[in-house]
C-alpha cells in the first residue's frame, strides 16, 4: 500500500514513496548531500555525524532536519544548501576536524565545505576517529559484536571490552572497511592478518587456492549458517 508523493529538492520535482528517507530520494535524483556516518550496508542509521542536514519547509514550518533519517510523509520543499545549512555544516566540520585532526577525509571535506574563519578550537591530538559508530554497527551486523562505543559525553570512543584483544573478533575487517576515515589500523601479509591486537591466519580455498578471509571468519560463518566448516570459496562451494 505504498503511496507516491512528489516533493521538490532544490527546485527539482522528485517522486518518492511515502516514508522514504530524504537522503535516499535526493541521491536517486542525483542531488549530492554530504555524509559520514551513513552506509548502505548498515540497515539502521545512527545519524550521529549530522553532516547530511538540509532545510525543509513543510506545513508552513521551515527547519533543519537530518536527511539520512528523515522520512518523507507529505509534500514538502527541501533545500540542500541554504546559508543556514552551509553555516551549520561548516561548524560541524570544524568540530570534527578539531576532534580528529589526523583524519584526511575530514580535512578534505572541511577544505571543500568548511569555513576557514572558524579557528582556535582545542584539538584532540593524534585522534583520527570521529566516533560515528559505523564500525560497531558493522561488527554487530557483519562481524562478531567484538567492539562497542564506550564511555559517554565528550569521552565517547570505540574500544574492545576492557581494552584487551577482543576474544569474539574473527578478523573479518568489516569494521575497518566501513570506517569513513580509515581510523582502524590493521596489517596483513600472505599468512596473517592483525587487527585489534589479534593475529588471524589467512585461509585459502582448498579447491582453487583463492584467499577467503581468515580461518576464524570461515568457522564463524559456517556456525552462523549451521553448516559444516569447509574451506572453499563461494565459487567452489
Amino acid at each position: 500500500m505504498s503511496e507516491e508523493l512528489t516533493i521538490t529538492i532544490d527546485g527539482k520535482p522528485c517522486t518518492c514513496e511515502r516514508g522514504e528517507y530524504l537522503y535516499d530520494i535526493a541521491k536517486r535524483n542525483g542531488i549530492f548531500i554530504p555524509t559520514m556516518c551513513r552506509n548502505d550496508e548498515i540497515p539502521e542509521h545512527r545519524a550521529s555525524c549530522r553532516l547530511c542536514i538540509v532545510e525543509i519547509s513543510e506545513g508552513g514550518r521551515t527547519r533543519i532536519v537530518t536527511s539520512c533519517v528523515y522520512p518523507v510523509l507529505r509534500e514538502c520543499e527541501v533545500r540542500t544548501s541554504t546559508e543556514r545549512v552551509k553555516n551549520d555544516r561548516a561548524m560541524l566540520l570544524a568540530l570534527l576536524h578539531a576532534r580528529a585532526p589526523q583524519s584526511d577525509a575530514i580535512a578534505q571535506m572541511n577544505d571543500a565545505l568548511g569555513d576557514p574563519s572558524i579557528e582556535g578550537f582545542v584539538t584532540v591530538d593524534g585522534e583520527k576517529c570521529i566516533a560515528c559508530g559505523l564500525c560497531v554497527q558493522a561488527c554487530d551486523t557483519l562481524g562478531a559484536s567484538a567492539i562497542s562505543m564506550i564511555n559517554n559525553g565528550t569521552e565517547k570512543q570505540v574500544a574492545p571490552p576492557f581494552d584487551m584483544a577482543p576474544k569474539p573478533c574473527i578478523g573479518c575487517l568489516n569494521c575497518a572497511r566501513v570506517c569513513p576515515v580509515d581510523a582502524i589500523p590493521y596489517e596483513e601479509d600472505e599468512y596473517v592478518r592483525s587487527i585489534w591486537n589479534r593475529n588471524f591466519t589467512i585461509a585459502y580455498c582448498e579447491s582453487c587456492g583463492k584467499a577467503i578471509g581468515t580461518a576464524a571468519e570461515v568457522v564463524h560463518r559456517a556456525h552462523e549458517n549451521g553448516e559444516d566448516v569447509r574451506f572453499l570459496c563461494d565459487d567452489c562451494k
Binding site: 542509521h45 537530518t66 551549520d88 568540530l95 578539531a98 559484536s145 565528550t154 565517547k156 574492545p160
Partner: protein, 624 residues
C-alpha cells in the same frame, strides 16, 4: 557457551534474574554493589548468561558513572556536585577531600580504604556545601572542616563519635528539615497549595492505612468504576500537563497509548531526576509513594497495562526503599496484584534503578536502558513511545510528579483541578527553592503565581545585605531568568513567551556573589559528562564550549570568544540529535543575552565582578 556448560563464580548474581537482556543493568548494579566494581570475568559470564555480546555490557559499564571497571572499596566519600553546593564552594570541598585522601574523584585509595565520588544534590541543599561518608551526612562544610572529618575517619575513629561531635553532621539525611525550619515564615506555607505534596507530612508515608485515612485510593476506586475512555477523558478535562520538562498534555499522551491496538502495554514512572539543581521527584517518591502508586494504577487502568515500572535514580536509595515498602504494603492490602482492589484487573509495579546521568531521563535513552542497552538517545522523527516504547510496545512514560497529581484529579474531579492555576497550565507545580534564597525547601504553588511571589514572598528574597541577581531553573539546559522577567506568572506558555523554560522544578536563586559566566561554565561542564556523546554537535560542541568557558573564567578570554560561543550554540540548537543537545547551549546563550556586560568584562578586562573567577590571579586556575 551456555550457562549450563560453564559454572560461573558470579552465578548467584546472574541467576537472580531471568536470562533476558533487559536484566543487564540490574545485574551490573548488583555486581557493582557486591564487589565494588564490575569484574571482566563477571562481564563475560553475564554475556554468556544473557546471550548478548560482552562488548555491549562493557559499553554500559563505562557509560554509567555508577558502575566502575576498577575496584572501589572502603568508605565511600560522596561530595555533592549540585548547583547550590556549587555556589557555596563545593569545588573547595572536593579539592580538600582529594588532598586529604590523596585520590581524585572516581578513584579508590591505594590501601582500599576510601573511594571518592560525586553526586548531584544530596538533598541537603539548605545547609550546603554537603558531603556524605557512607550513610552519614556532613553539612555546612568548610574545606578545613571536611579535612578534619576525613582525617578522623582515616584514624579509624568510630563514625558515630565523629558524627556526634561534628556540628552539621547527621547519621542519616535530615529530611525536610529545611521546611520545618521555615515554618515560622508564614508565606512560605500559606501561599502553598498542596495537591501533590498533601501526604508529605505523613507520619508513616509507607502506611496504606494512613494514606487511606486522608482520602488515598479513593481516586483509584472511582477510576475502577469508569471505562478506559472515561478515565482518559477525565485526565484530558483536567488539563494536566507533564512535569518532566516539556509540559506535554498528559491526557493526550494517555489517549495516544489507549488508541494503540498492540498488547501488552506498559507504564513507566520517570524518577531519574538528573538535573543538578532539582530535588523534587526525590522527596515526592520518598514522602508520597502511595500517590505515585495510585497514579500509576489509574494510568494502567486507562491503557490496560498489567505491568508498570518505576525508573528511579540510583543515588536515591531512600526513595527506592520507601517505594518498595509502599508497593509491598499495597500488594498486601490487595490494591496491587492479581486483582486491583478486587476488580479483576491485574497490576504489578517494579522498581528499576536508573543509571543516573542526565541523559538517562530522556525518553528514548531511558527505554533503551530499560531494555538492557546503552542509554543513548535515538534519532527518530516519527516513532513515538506511546506506540513503540518499552520493548517496542505501547508505553506511557510520565514524570513522578505528574503521576502523583493524578489521584487528586480522580478524587476531587477534573473541574476542581482545572479551577486551580491558569488556562494553559492547570493545577499546581512543586518547586525546590534553593541557592541564595533566604527560605529554602520544597513547596507547591498553584500555576499563575508569579516568579517574584515565589522568590520574594515565599522565599524571602536573598539574605540581608545582598541583592537578587537571577533565577535558574535547576536543569542544566534551562535559561537564566533575569530580574525583569520576575513578574511573569508561572506557567508553561507564560514562561515560554518570555523565552525561558519552566524546567522540572528547581529554582536556584543567585545574588551578586554569583558569577553568571562561571554558572554557565558549571552547566556546560556538567553536560560534557552527562550527554550520551552520540552526535557531533553535542559531543564536540560541548567540548569546545567548555574549553572557551574555561579560558574566559581563567582570565584568558580572547576577542571573538563570545561570538564563537553564540555560533556554536546556534549550531547545537539547530542540529543536535536529541533535546539535550538542542537545549545544551541555553544556559550560555540566555546568560549572554541578559548579562552581556558581565560576559564582556570577563573577556575584555579580565575582570569578574562577583570575584568568583580569579581572572587576574595568574597562578590560580580560576574557580573550578
Amino acid at each position: 557457551m551456555t550457562p549450563d556448560t560453564k559454572e560461573s563464580r558470579y552465578k548467584e548474581y546472574l541467576e537472580a534474574y531471568p536470562p533476558e537482556q533487559r536484566y543487564a543493568l540490574p545485574v551490573l548494579l548488583d555486581l557493582q554493589d557486591a564487589f565494588g566494581y564490575v569484574p571482566a570475568q563477571a562481564t563475560e559470564d553475564l554475556a554468556d548468561y544473557l546471550g548478548c555480546p560482552a562488548a555491549d555490557l562493557y559499553a554500559i559499564t563505562t557509560f554509567l558513572k555508577v558502575l566502575s571497571t576498577k575496584k572501589q572499596s572502603g568508605h565511600v566519600v560522596t561530595v555533592c556536585s549540585g548547583t547550590t553546593c556549587h555556589l557555596r564552594g563545593k569545588s573547595q570541598i572536593r579539592r580538600a577531600a582529594e588532598a586529604a585522601l590523596g585520590i581524585k574523584l572516581g578513584e579508590t585509595s591505594q590501601d582500599g580504604s576510601f573511594t571518592l565520588r560525586e553526586e548531584k544534590c544530596l538533598g541537603t541543599c539548605a545547609f550546603g556545601p554537603s558531603m556524605k561518608i557512607d550513610d552519614a551526612y556532613f553539612t555546612a562544610l568548610t574545606p578545613e572542616g571536611a579535612t578534619r572529618v576525613l582525617e578522623r575517619y582515616e584514624d579509624g575513629e568510630d563514625p558515630e563519635d565523629i558524627i556526634a561531635s561534628t556540628p552539621g553532621a547527621y547519621g542519616e539525611r535530615p529530611l525536610y528539615k529545611a521546611r520545618e525550619h521555615f515554618d515560622a515564615h508564614a508565606a512560605f506555607n500559606t501561599m502553598q497549595q498542596r495537591v501533590v505534596l498533601a501526604g508529605l507530612d505523613a507520619k508513616d508515608p509507607v502506611s496504606v492505612e494512613e494514606y487511606r485515612a486522608h482520602g488515598g485510593y479513593e481516586g483509584l476506586c472511582r477510576a475502577l468504576s469508569m471505562t478506559p475512555e472515561a478515565i482518559v477523558a477525565e485526565v484530558e478535562q483536567s488539563g494536566i500537563r507533564g512535569k518532566g520538562g516539556a509540559g506535554f498534555p498528559t491526557g493526550t499522551k494517555w489517549r495516544n497509548c489507549l488508541n494503540e491496538p498492540a498488547e501488552p502495554k506498559y507504564l513507566i514512572c520517570n524518577g531519574t531526576e538528573g538535573d543538578p539543581g532539582v530535588y523534587v521527584d526525590g522527596p515526592i517518591m520518598e514522602g508520597c509513594p502511595h500517590a505515585i502508586i495510585e497514579g500509576m494504577a489509574i494510568g494502567a487502568l486507562a491503557i490496560g497495562a498489567e505491568e508498570g515500572f518505576l525508573y528511579v535514580r540510583s543515588g536515591y536509595g531512600k526513595a527506592r526503599e520507601r517505594l518498595q515498602a509502599a508497593i509491598d504494603a499495597a500488594l498486601e492490602a490487595g490494591i496491587l496484584g492479581d486483582s486491583v482492589m478486587g476488580s479483576g484487573h491485574k497490576l504489578y509495579l517494579r522498581i528499576v534503578r536508573s543509571g543516573g546521568q542526565y541523559i538517562c531521563g530522556e525518553t528514548t535513552a531511558l527505554m533503551s536502558s530499560m531494555a538492557g542497552k546503552l542509554p543513548e538517545a535515538r534519532a527518530s522523527y516519527t516513532v513515538h513511545s506511546t506506540q513503540h516504547g518499552l520493548f517496542d510496545q505501547p508505553t506511557i512514560l510520565n514524570n513522578a510528579e505528574t503521576l502523583a497529581a493524578i489521584p487528586w484529579i480522580f478524587r476531587e474531579g477534573a473541574a476542581a483541578f482545572r479551577a486551580i492555576g491558569t488556562t494553559g497550565s492547570t493545577g499546581t507545580k512543586v518547586f525546590f527553592l534553593t541557592g541564595r534564597a533566604a527560605n529554602q525547601g520544597i513547596l507547591e504553588i498553584p500555576f499563575g503565581t508569579t516568579l517574584r511571589q515565589l522568590v520574594f514572598d515565599m522565599g524571602g528574597g536573598v539574605a540581608r545585605g545582598h541583592s537578587f541577581k537571577a533565577l535558574l531553573p535547576g536543569g542544566p539546559s534551562d535559561s537564566v531568568i533575569p530580574e525583569k522577567l520576575l513578574d511573569t506568572p508561572i506557567g508553561f506558555d507564560e514562561l515560554a513567551q518570555q523565552g525561558v523554560q519552566m524546567g522540572s522544578g528547581g529554582m536556584v536563586v543567585l545574588d551578586e556573589r554569583d558569577c553568571m559566566v562561571e554558572m554557565a561554565r558549571y552547566h556546560i561542564d556538567f553536560l560534557c559528562a552527562q550527554s550520551c556523546g552520540k552526535c557531533t554537535p553535542c559531543r564536540e560542541g560541548l567540548r569546545q564550549m567548555s574549553a572557551i568557558l574555561k579560558r574566559i573564567c581563567d582570565g584568558q578570554g580572547r576577542a571573538g570568544d563570545l561570538e564563537m560561543l553564540e555560533r556554536l550554540g546556534d549550531v547545537m540548537t539547530d542540529t543536535a540529535l536529541c533535546a539535550l543537545g538542542q537545549s545544551a547551549a541555553n544556559p550560555v546563550l540566555s546568560s549572554m543575552r541578559s548579562f552581556r556586560d558581565e560576559w564582556e568584562e570577563h573577556v575584555r578586562d579580565h575582570h569578574c565582578r562577583a570575584g568568583v573567577c580569579r581572572c587576574d590571579a595568574l597562578s590560580e586556575g580560576g574557580a573550578a
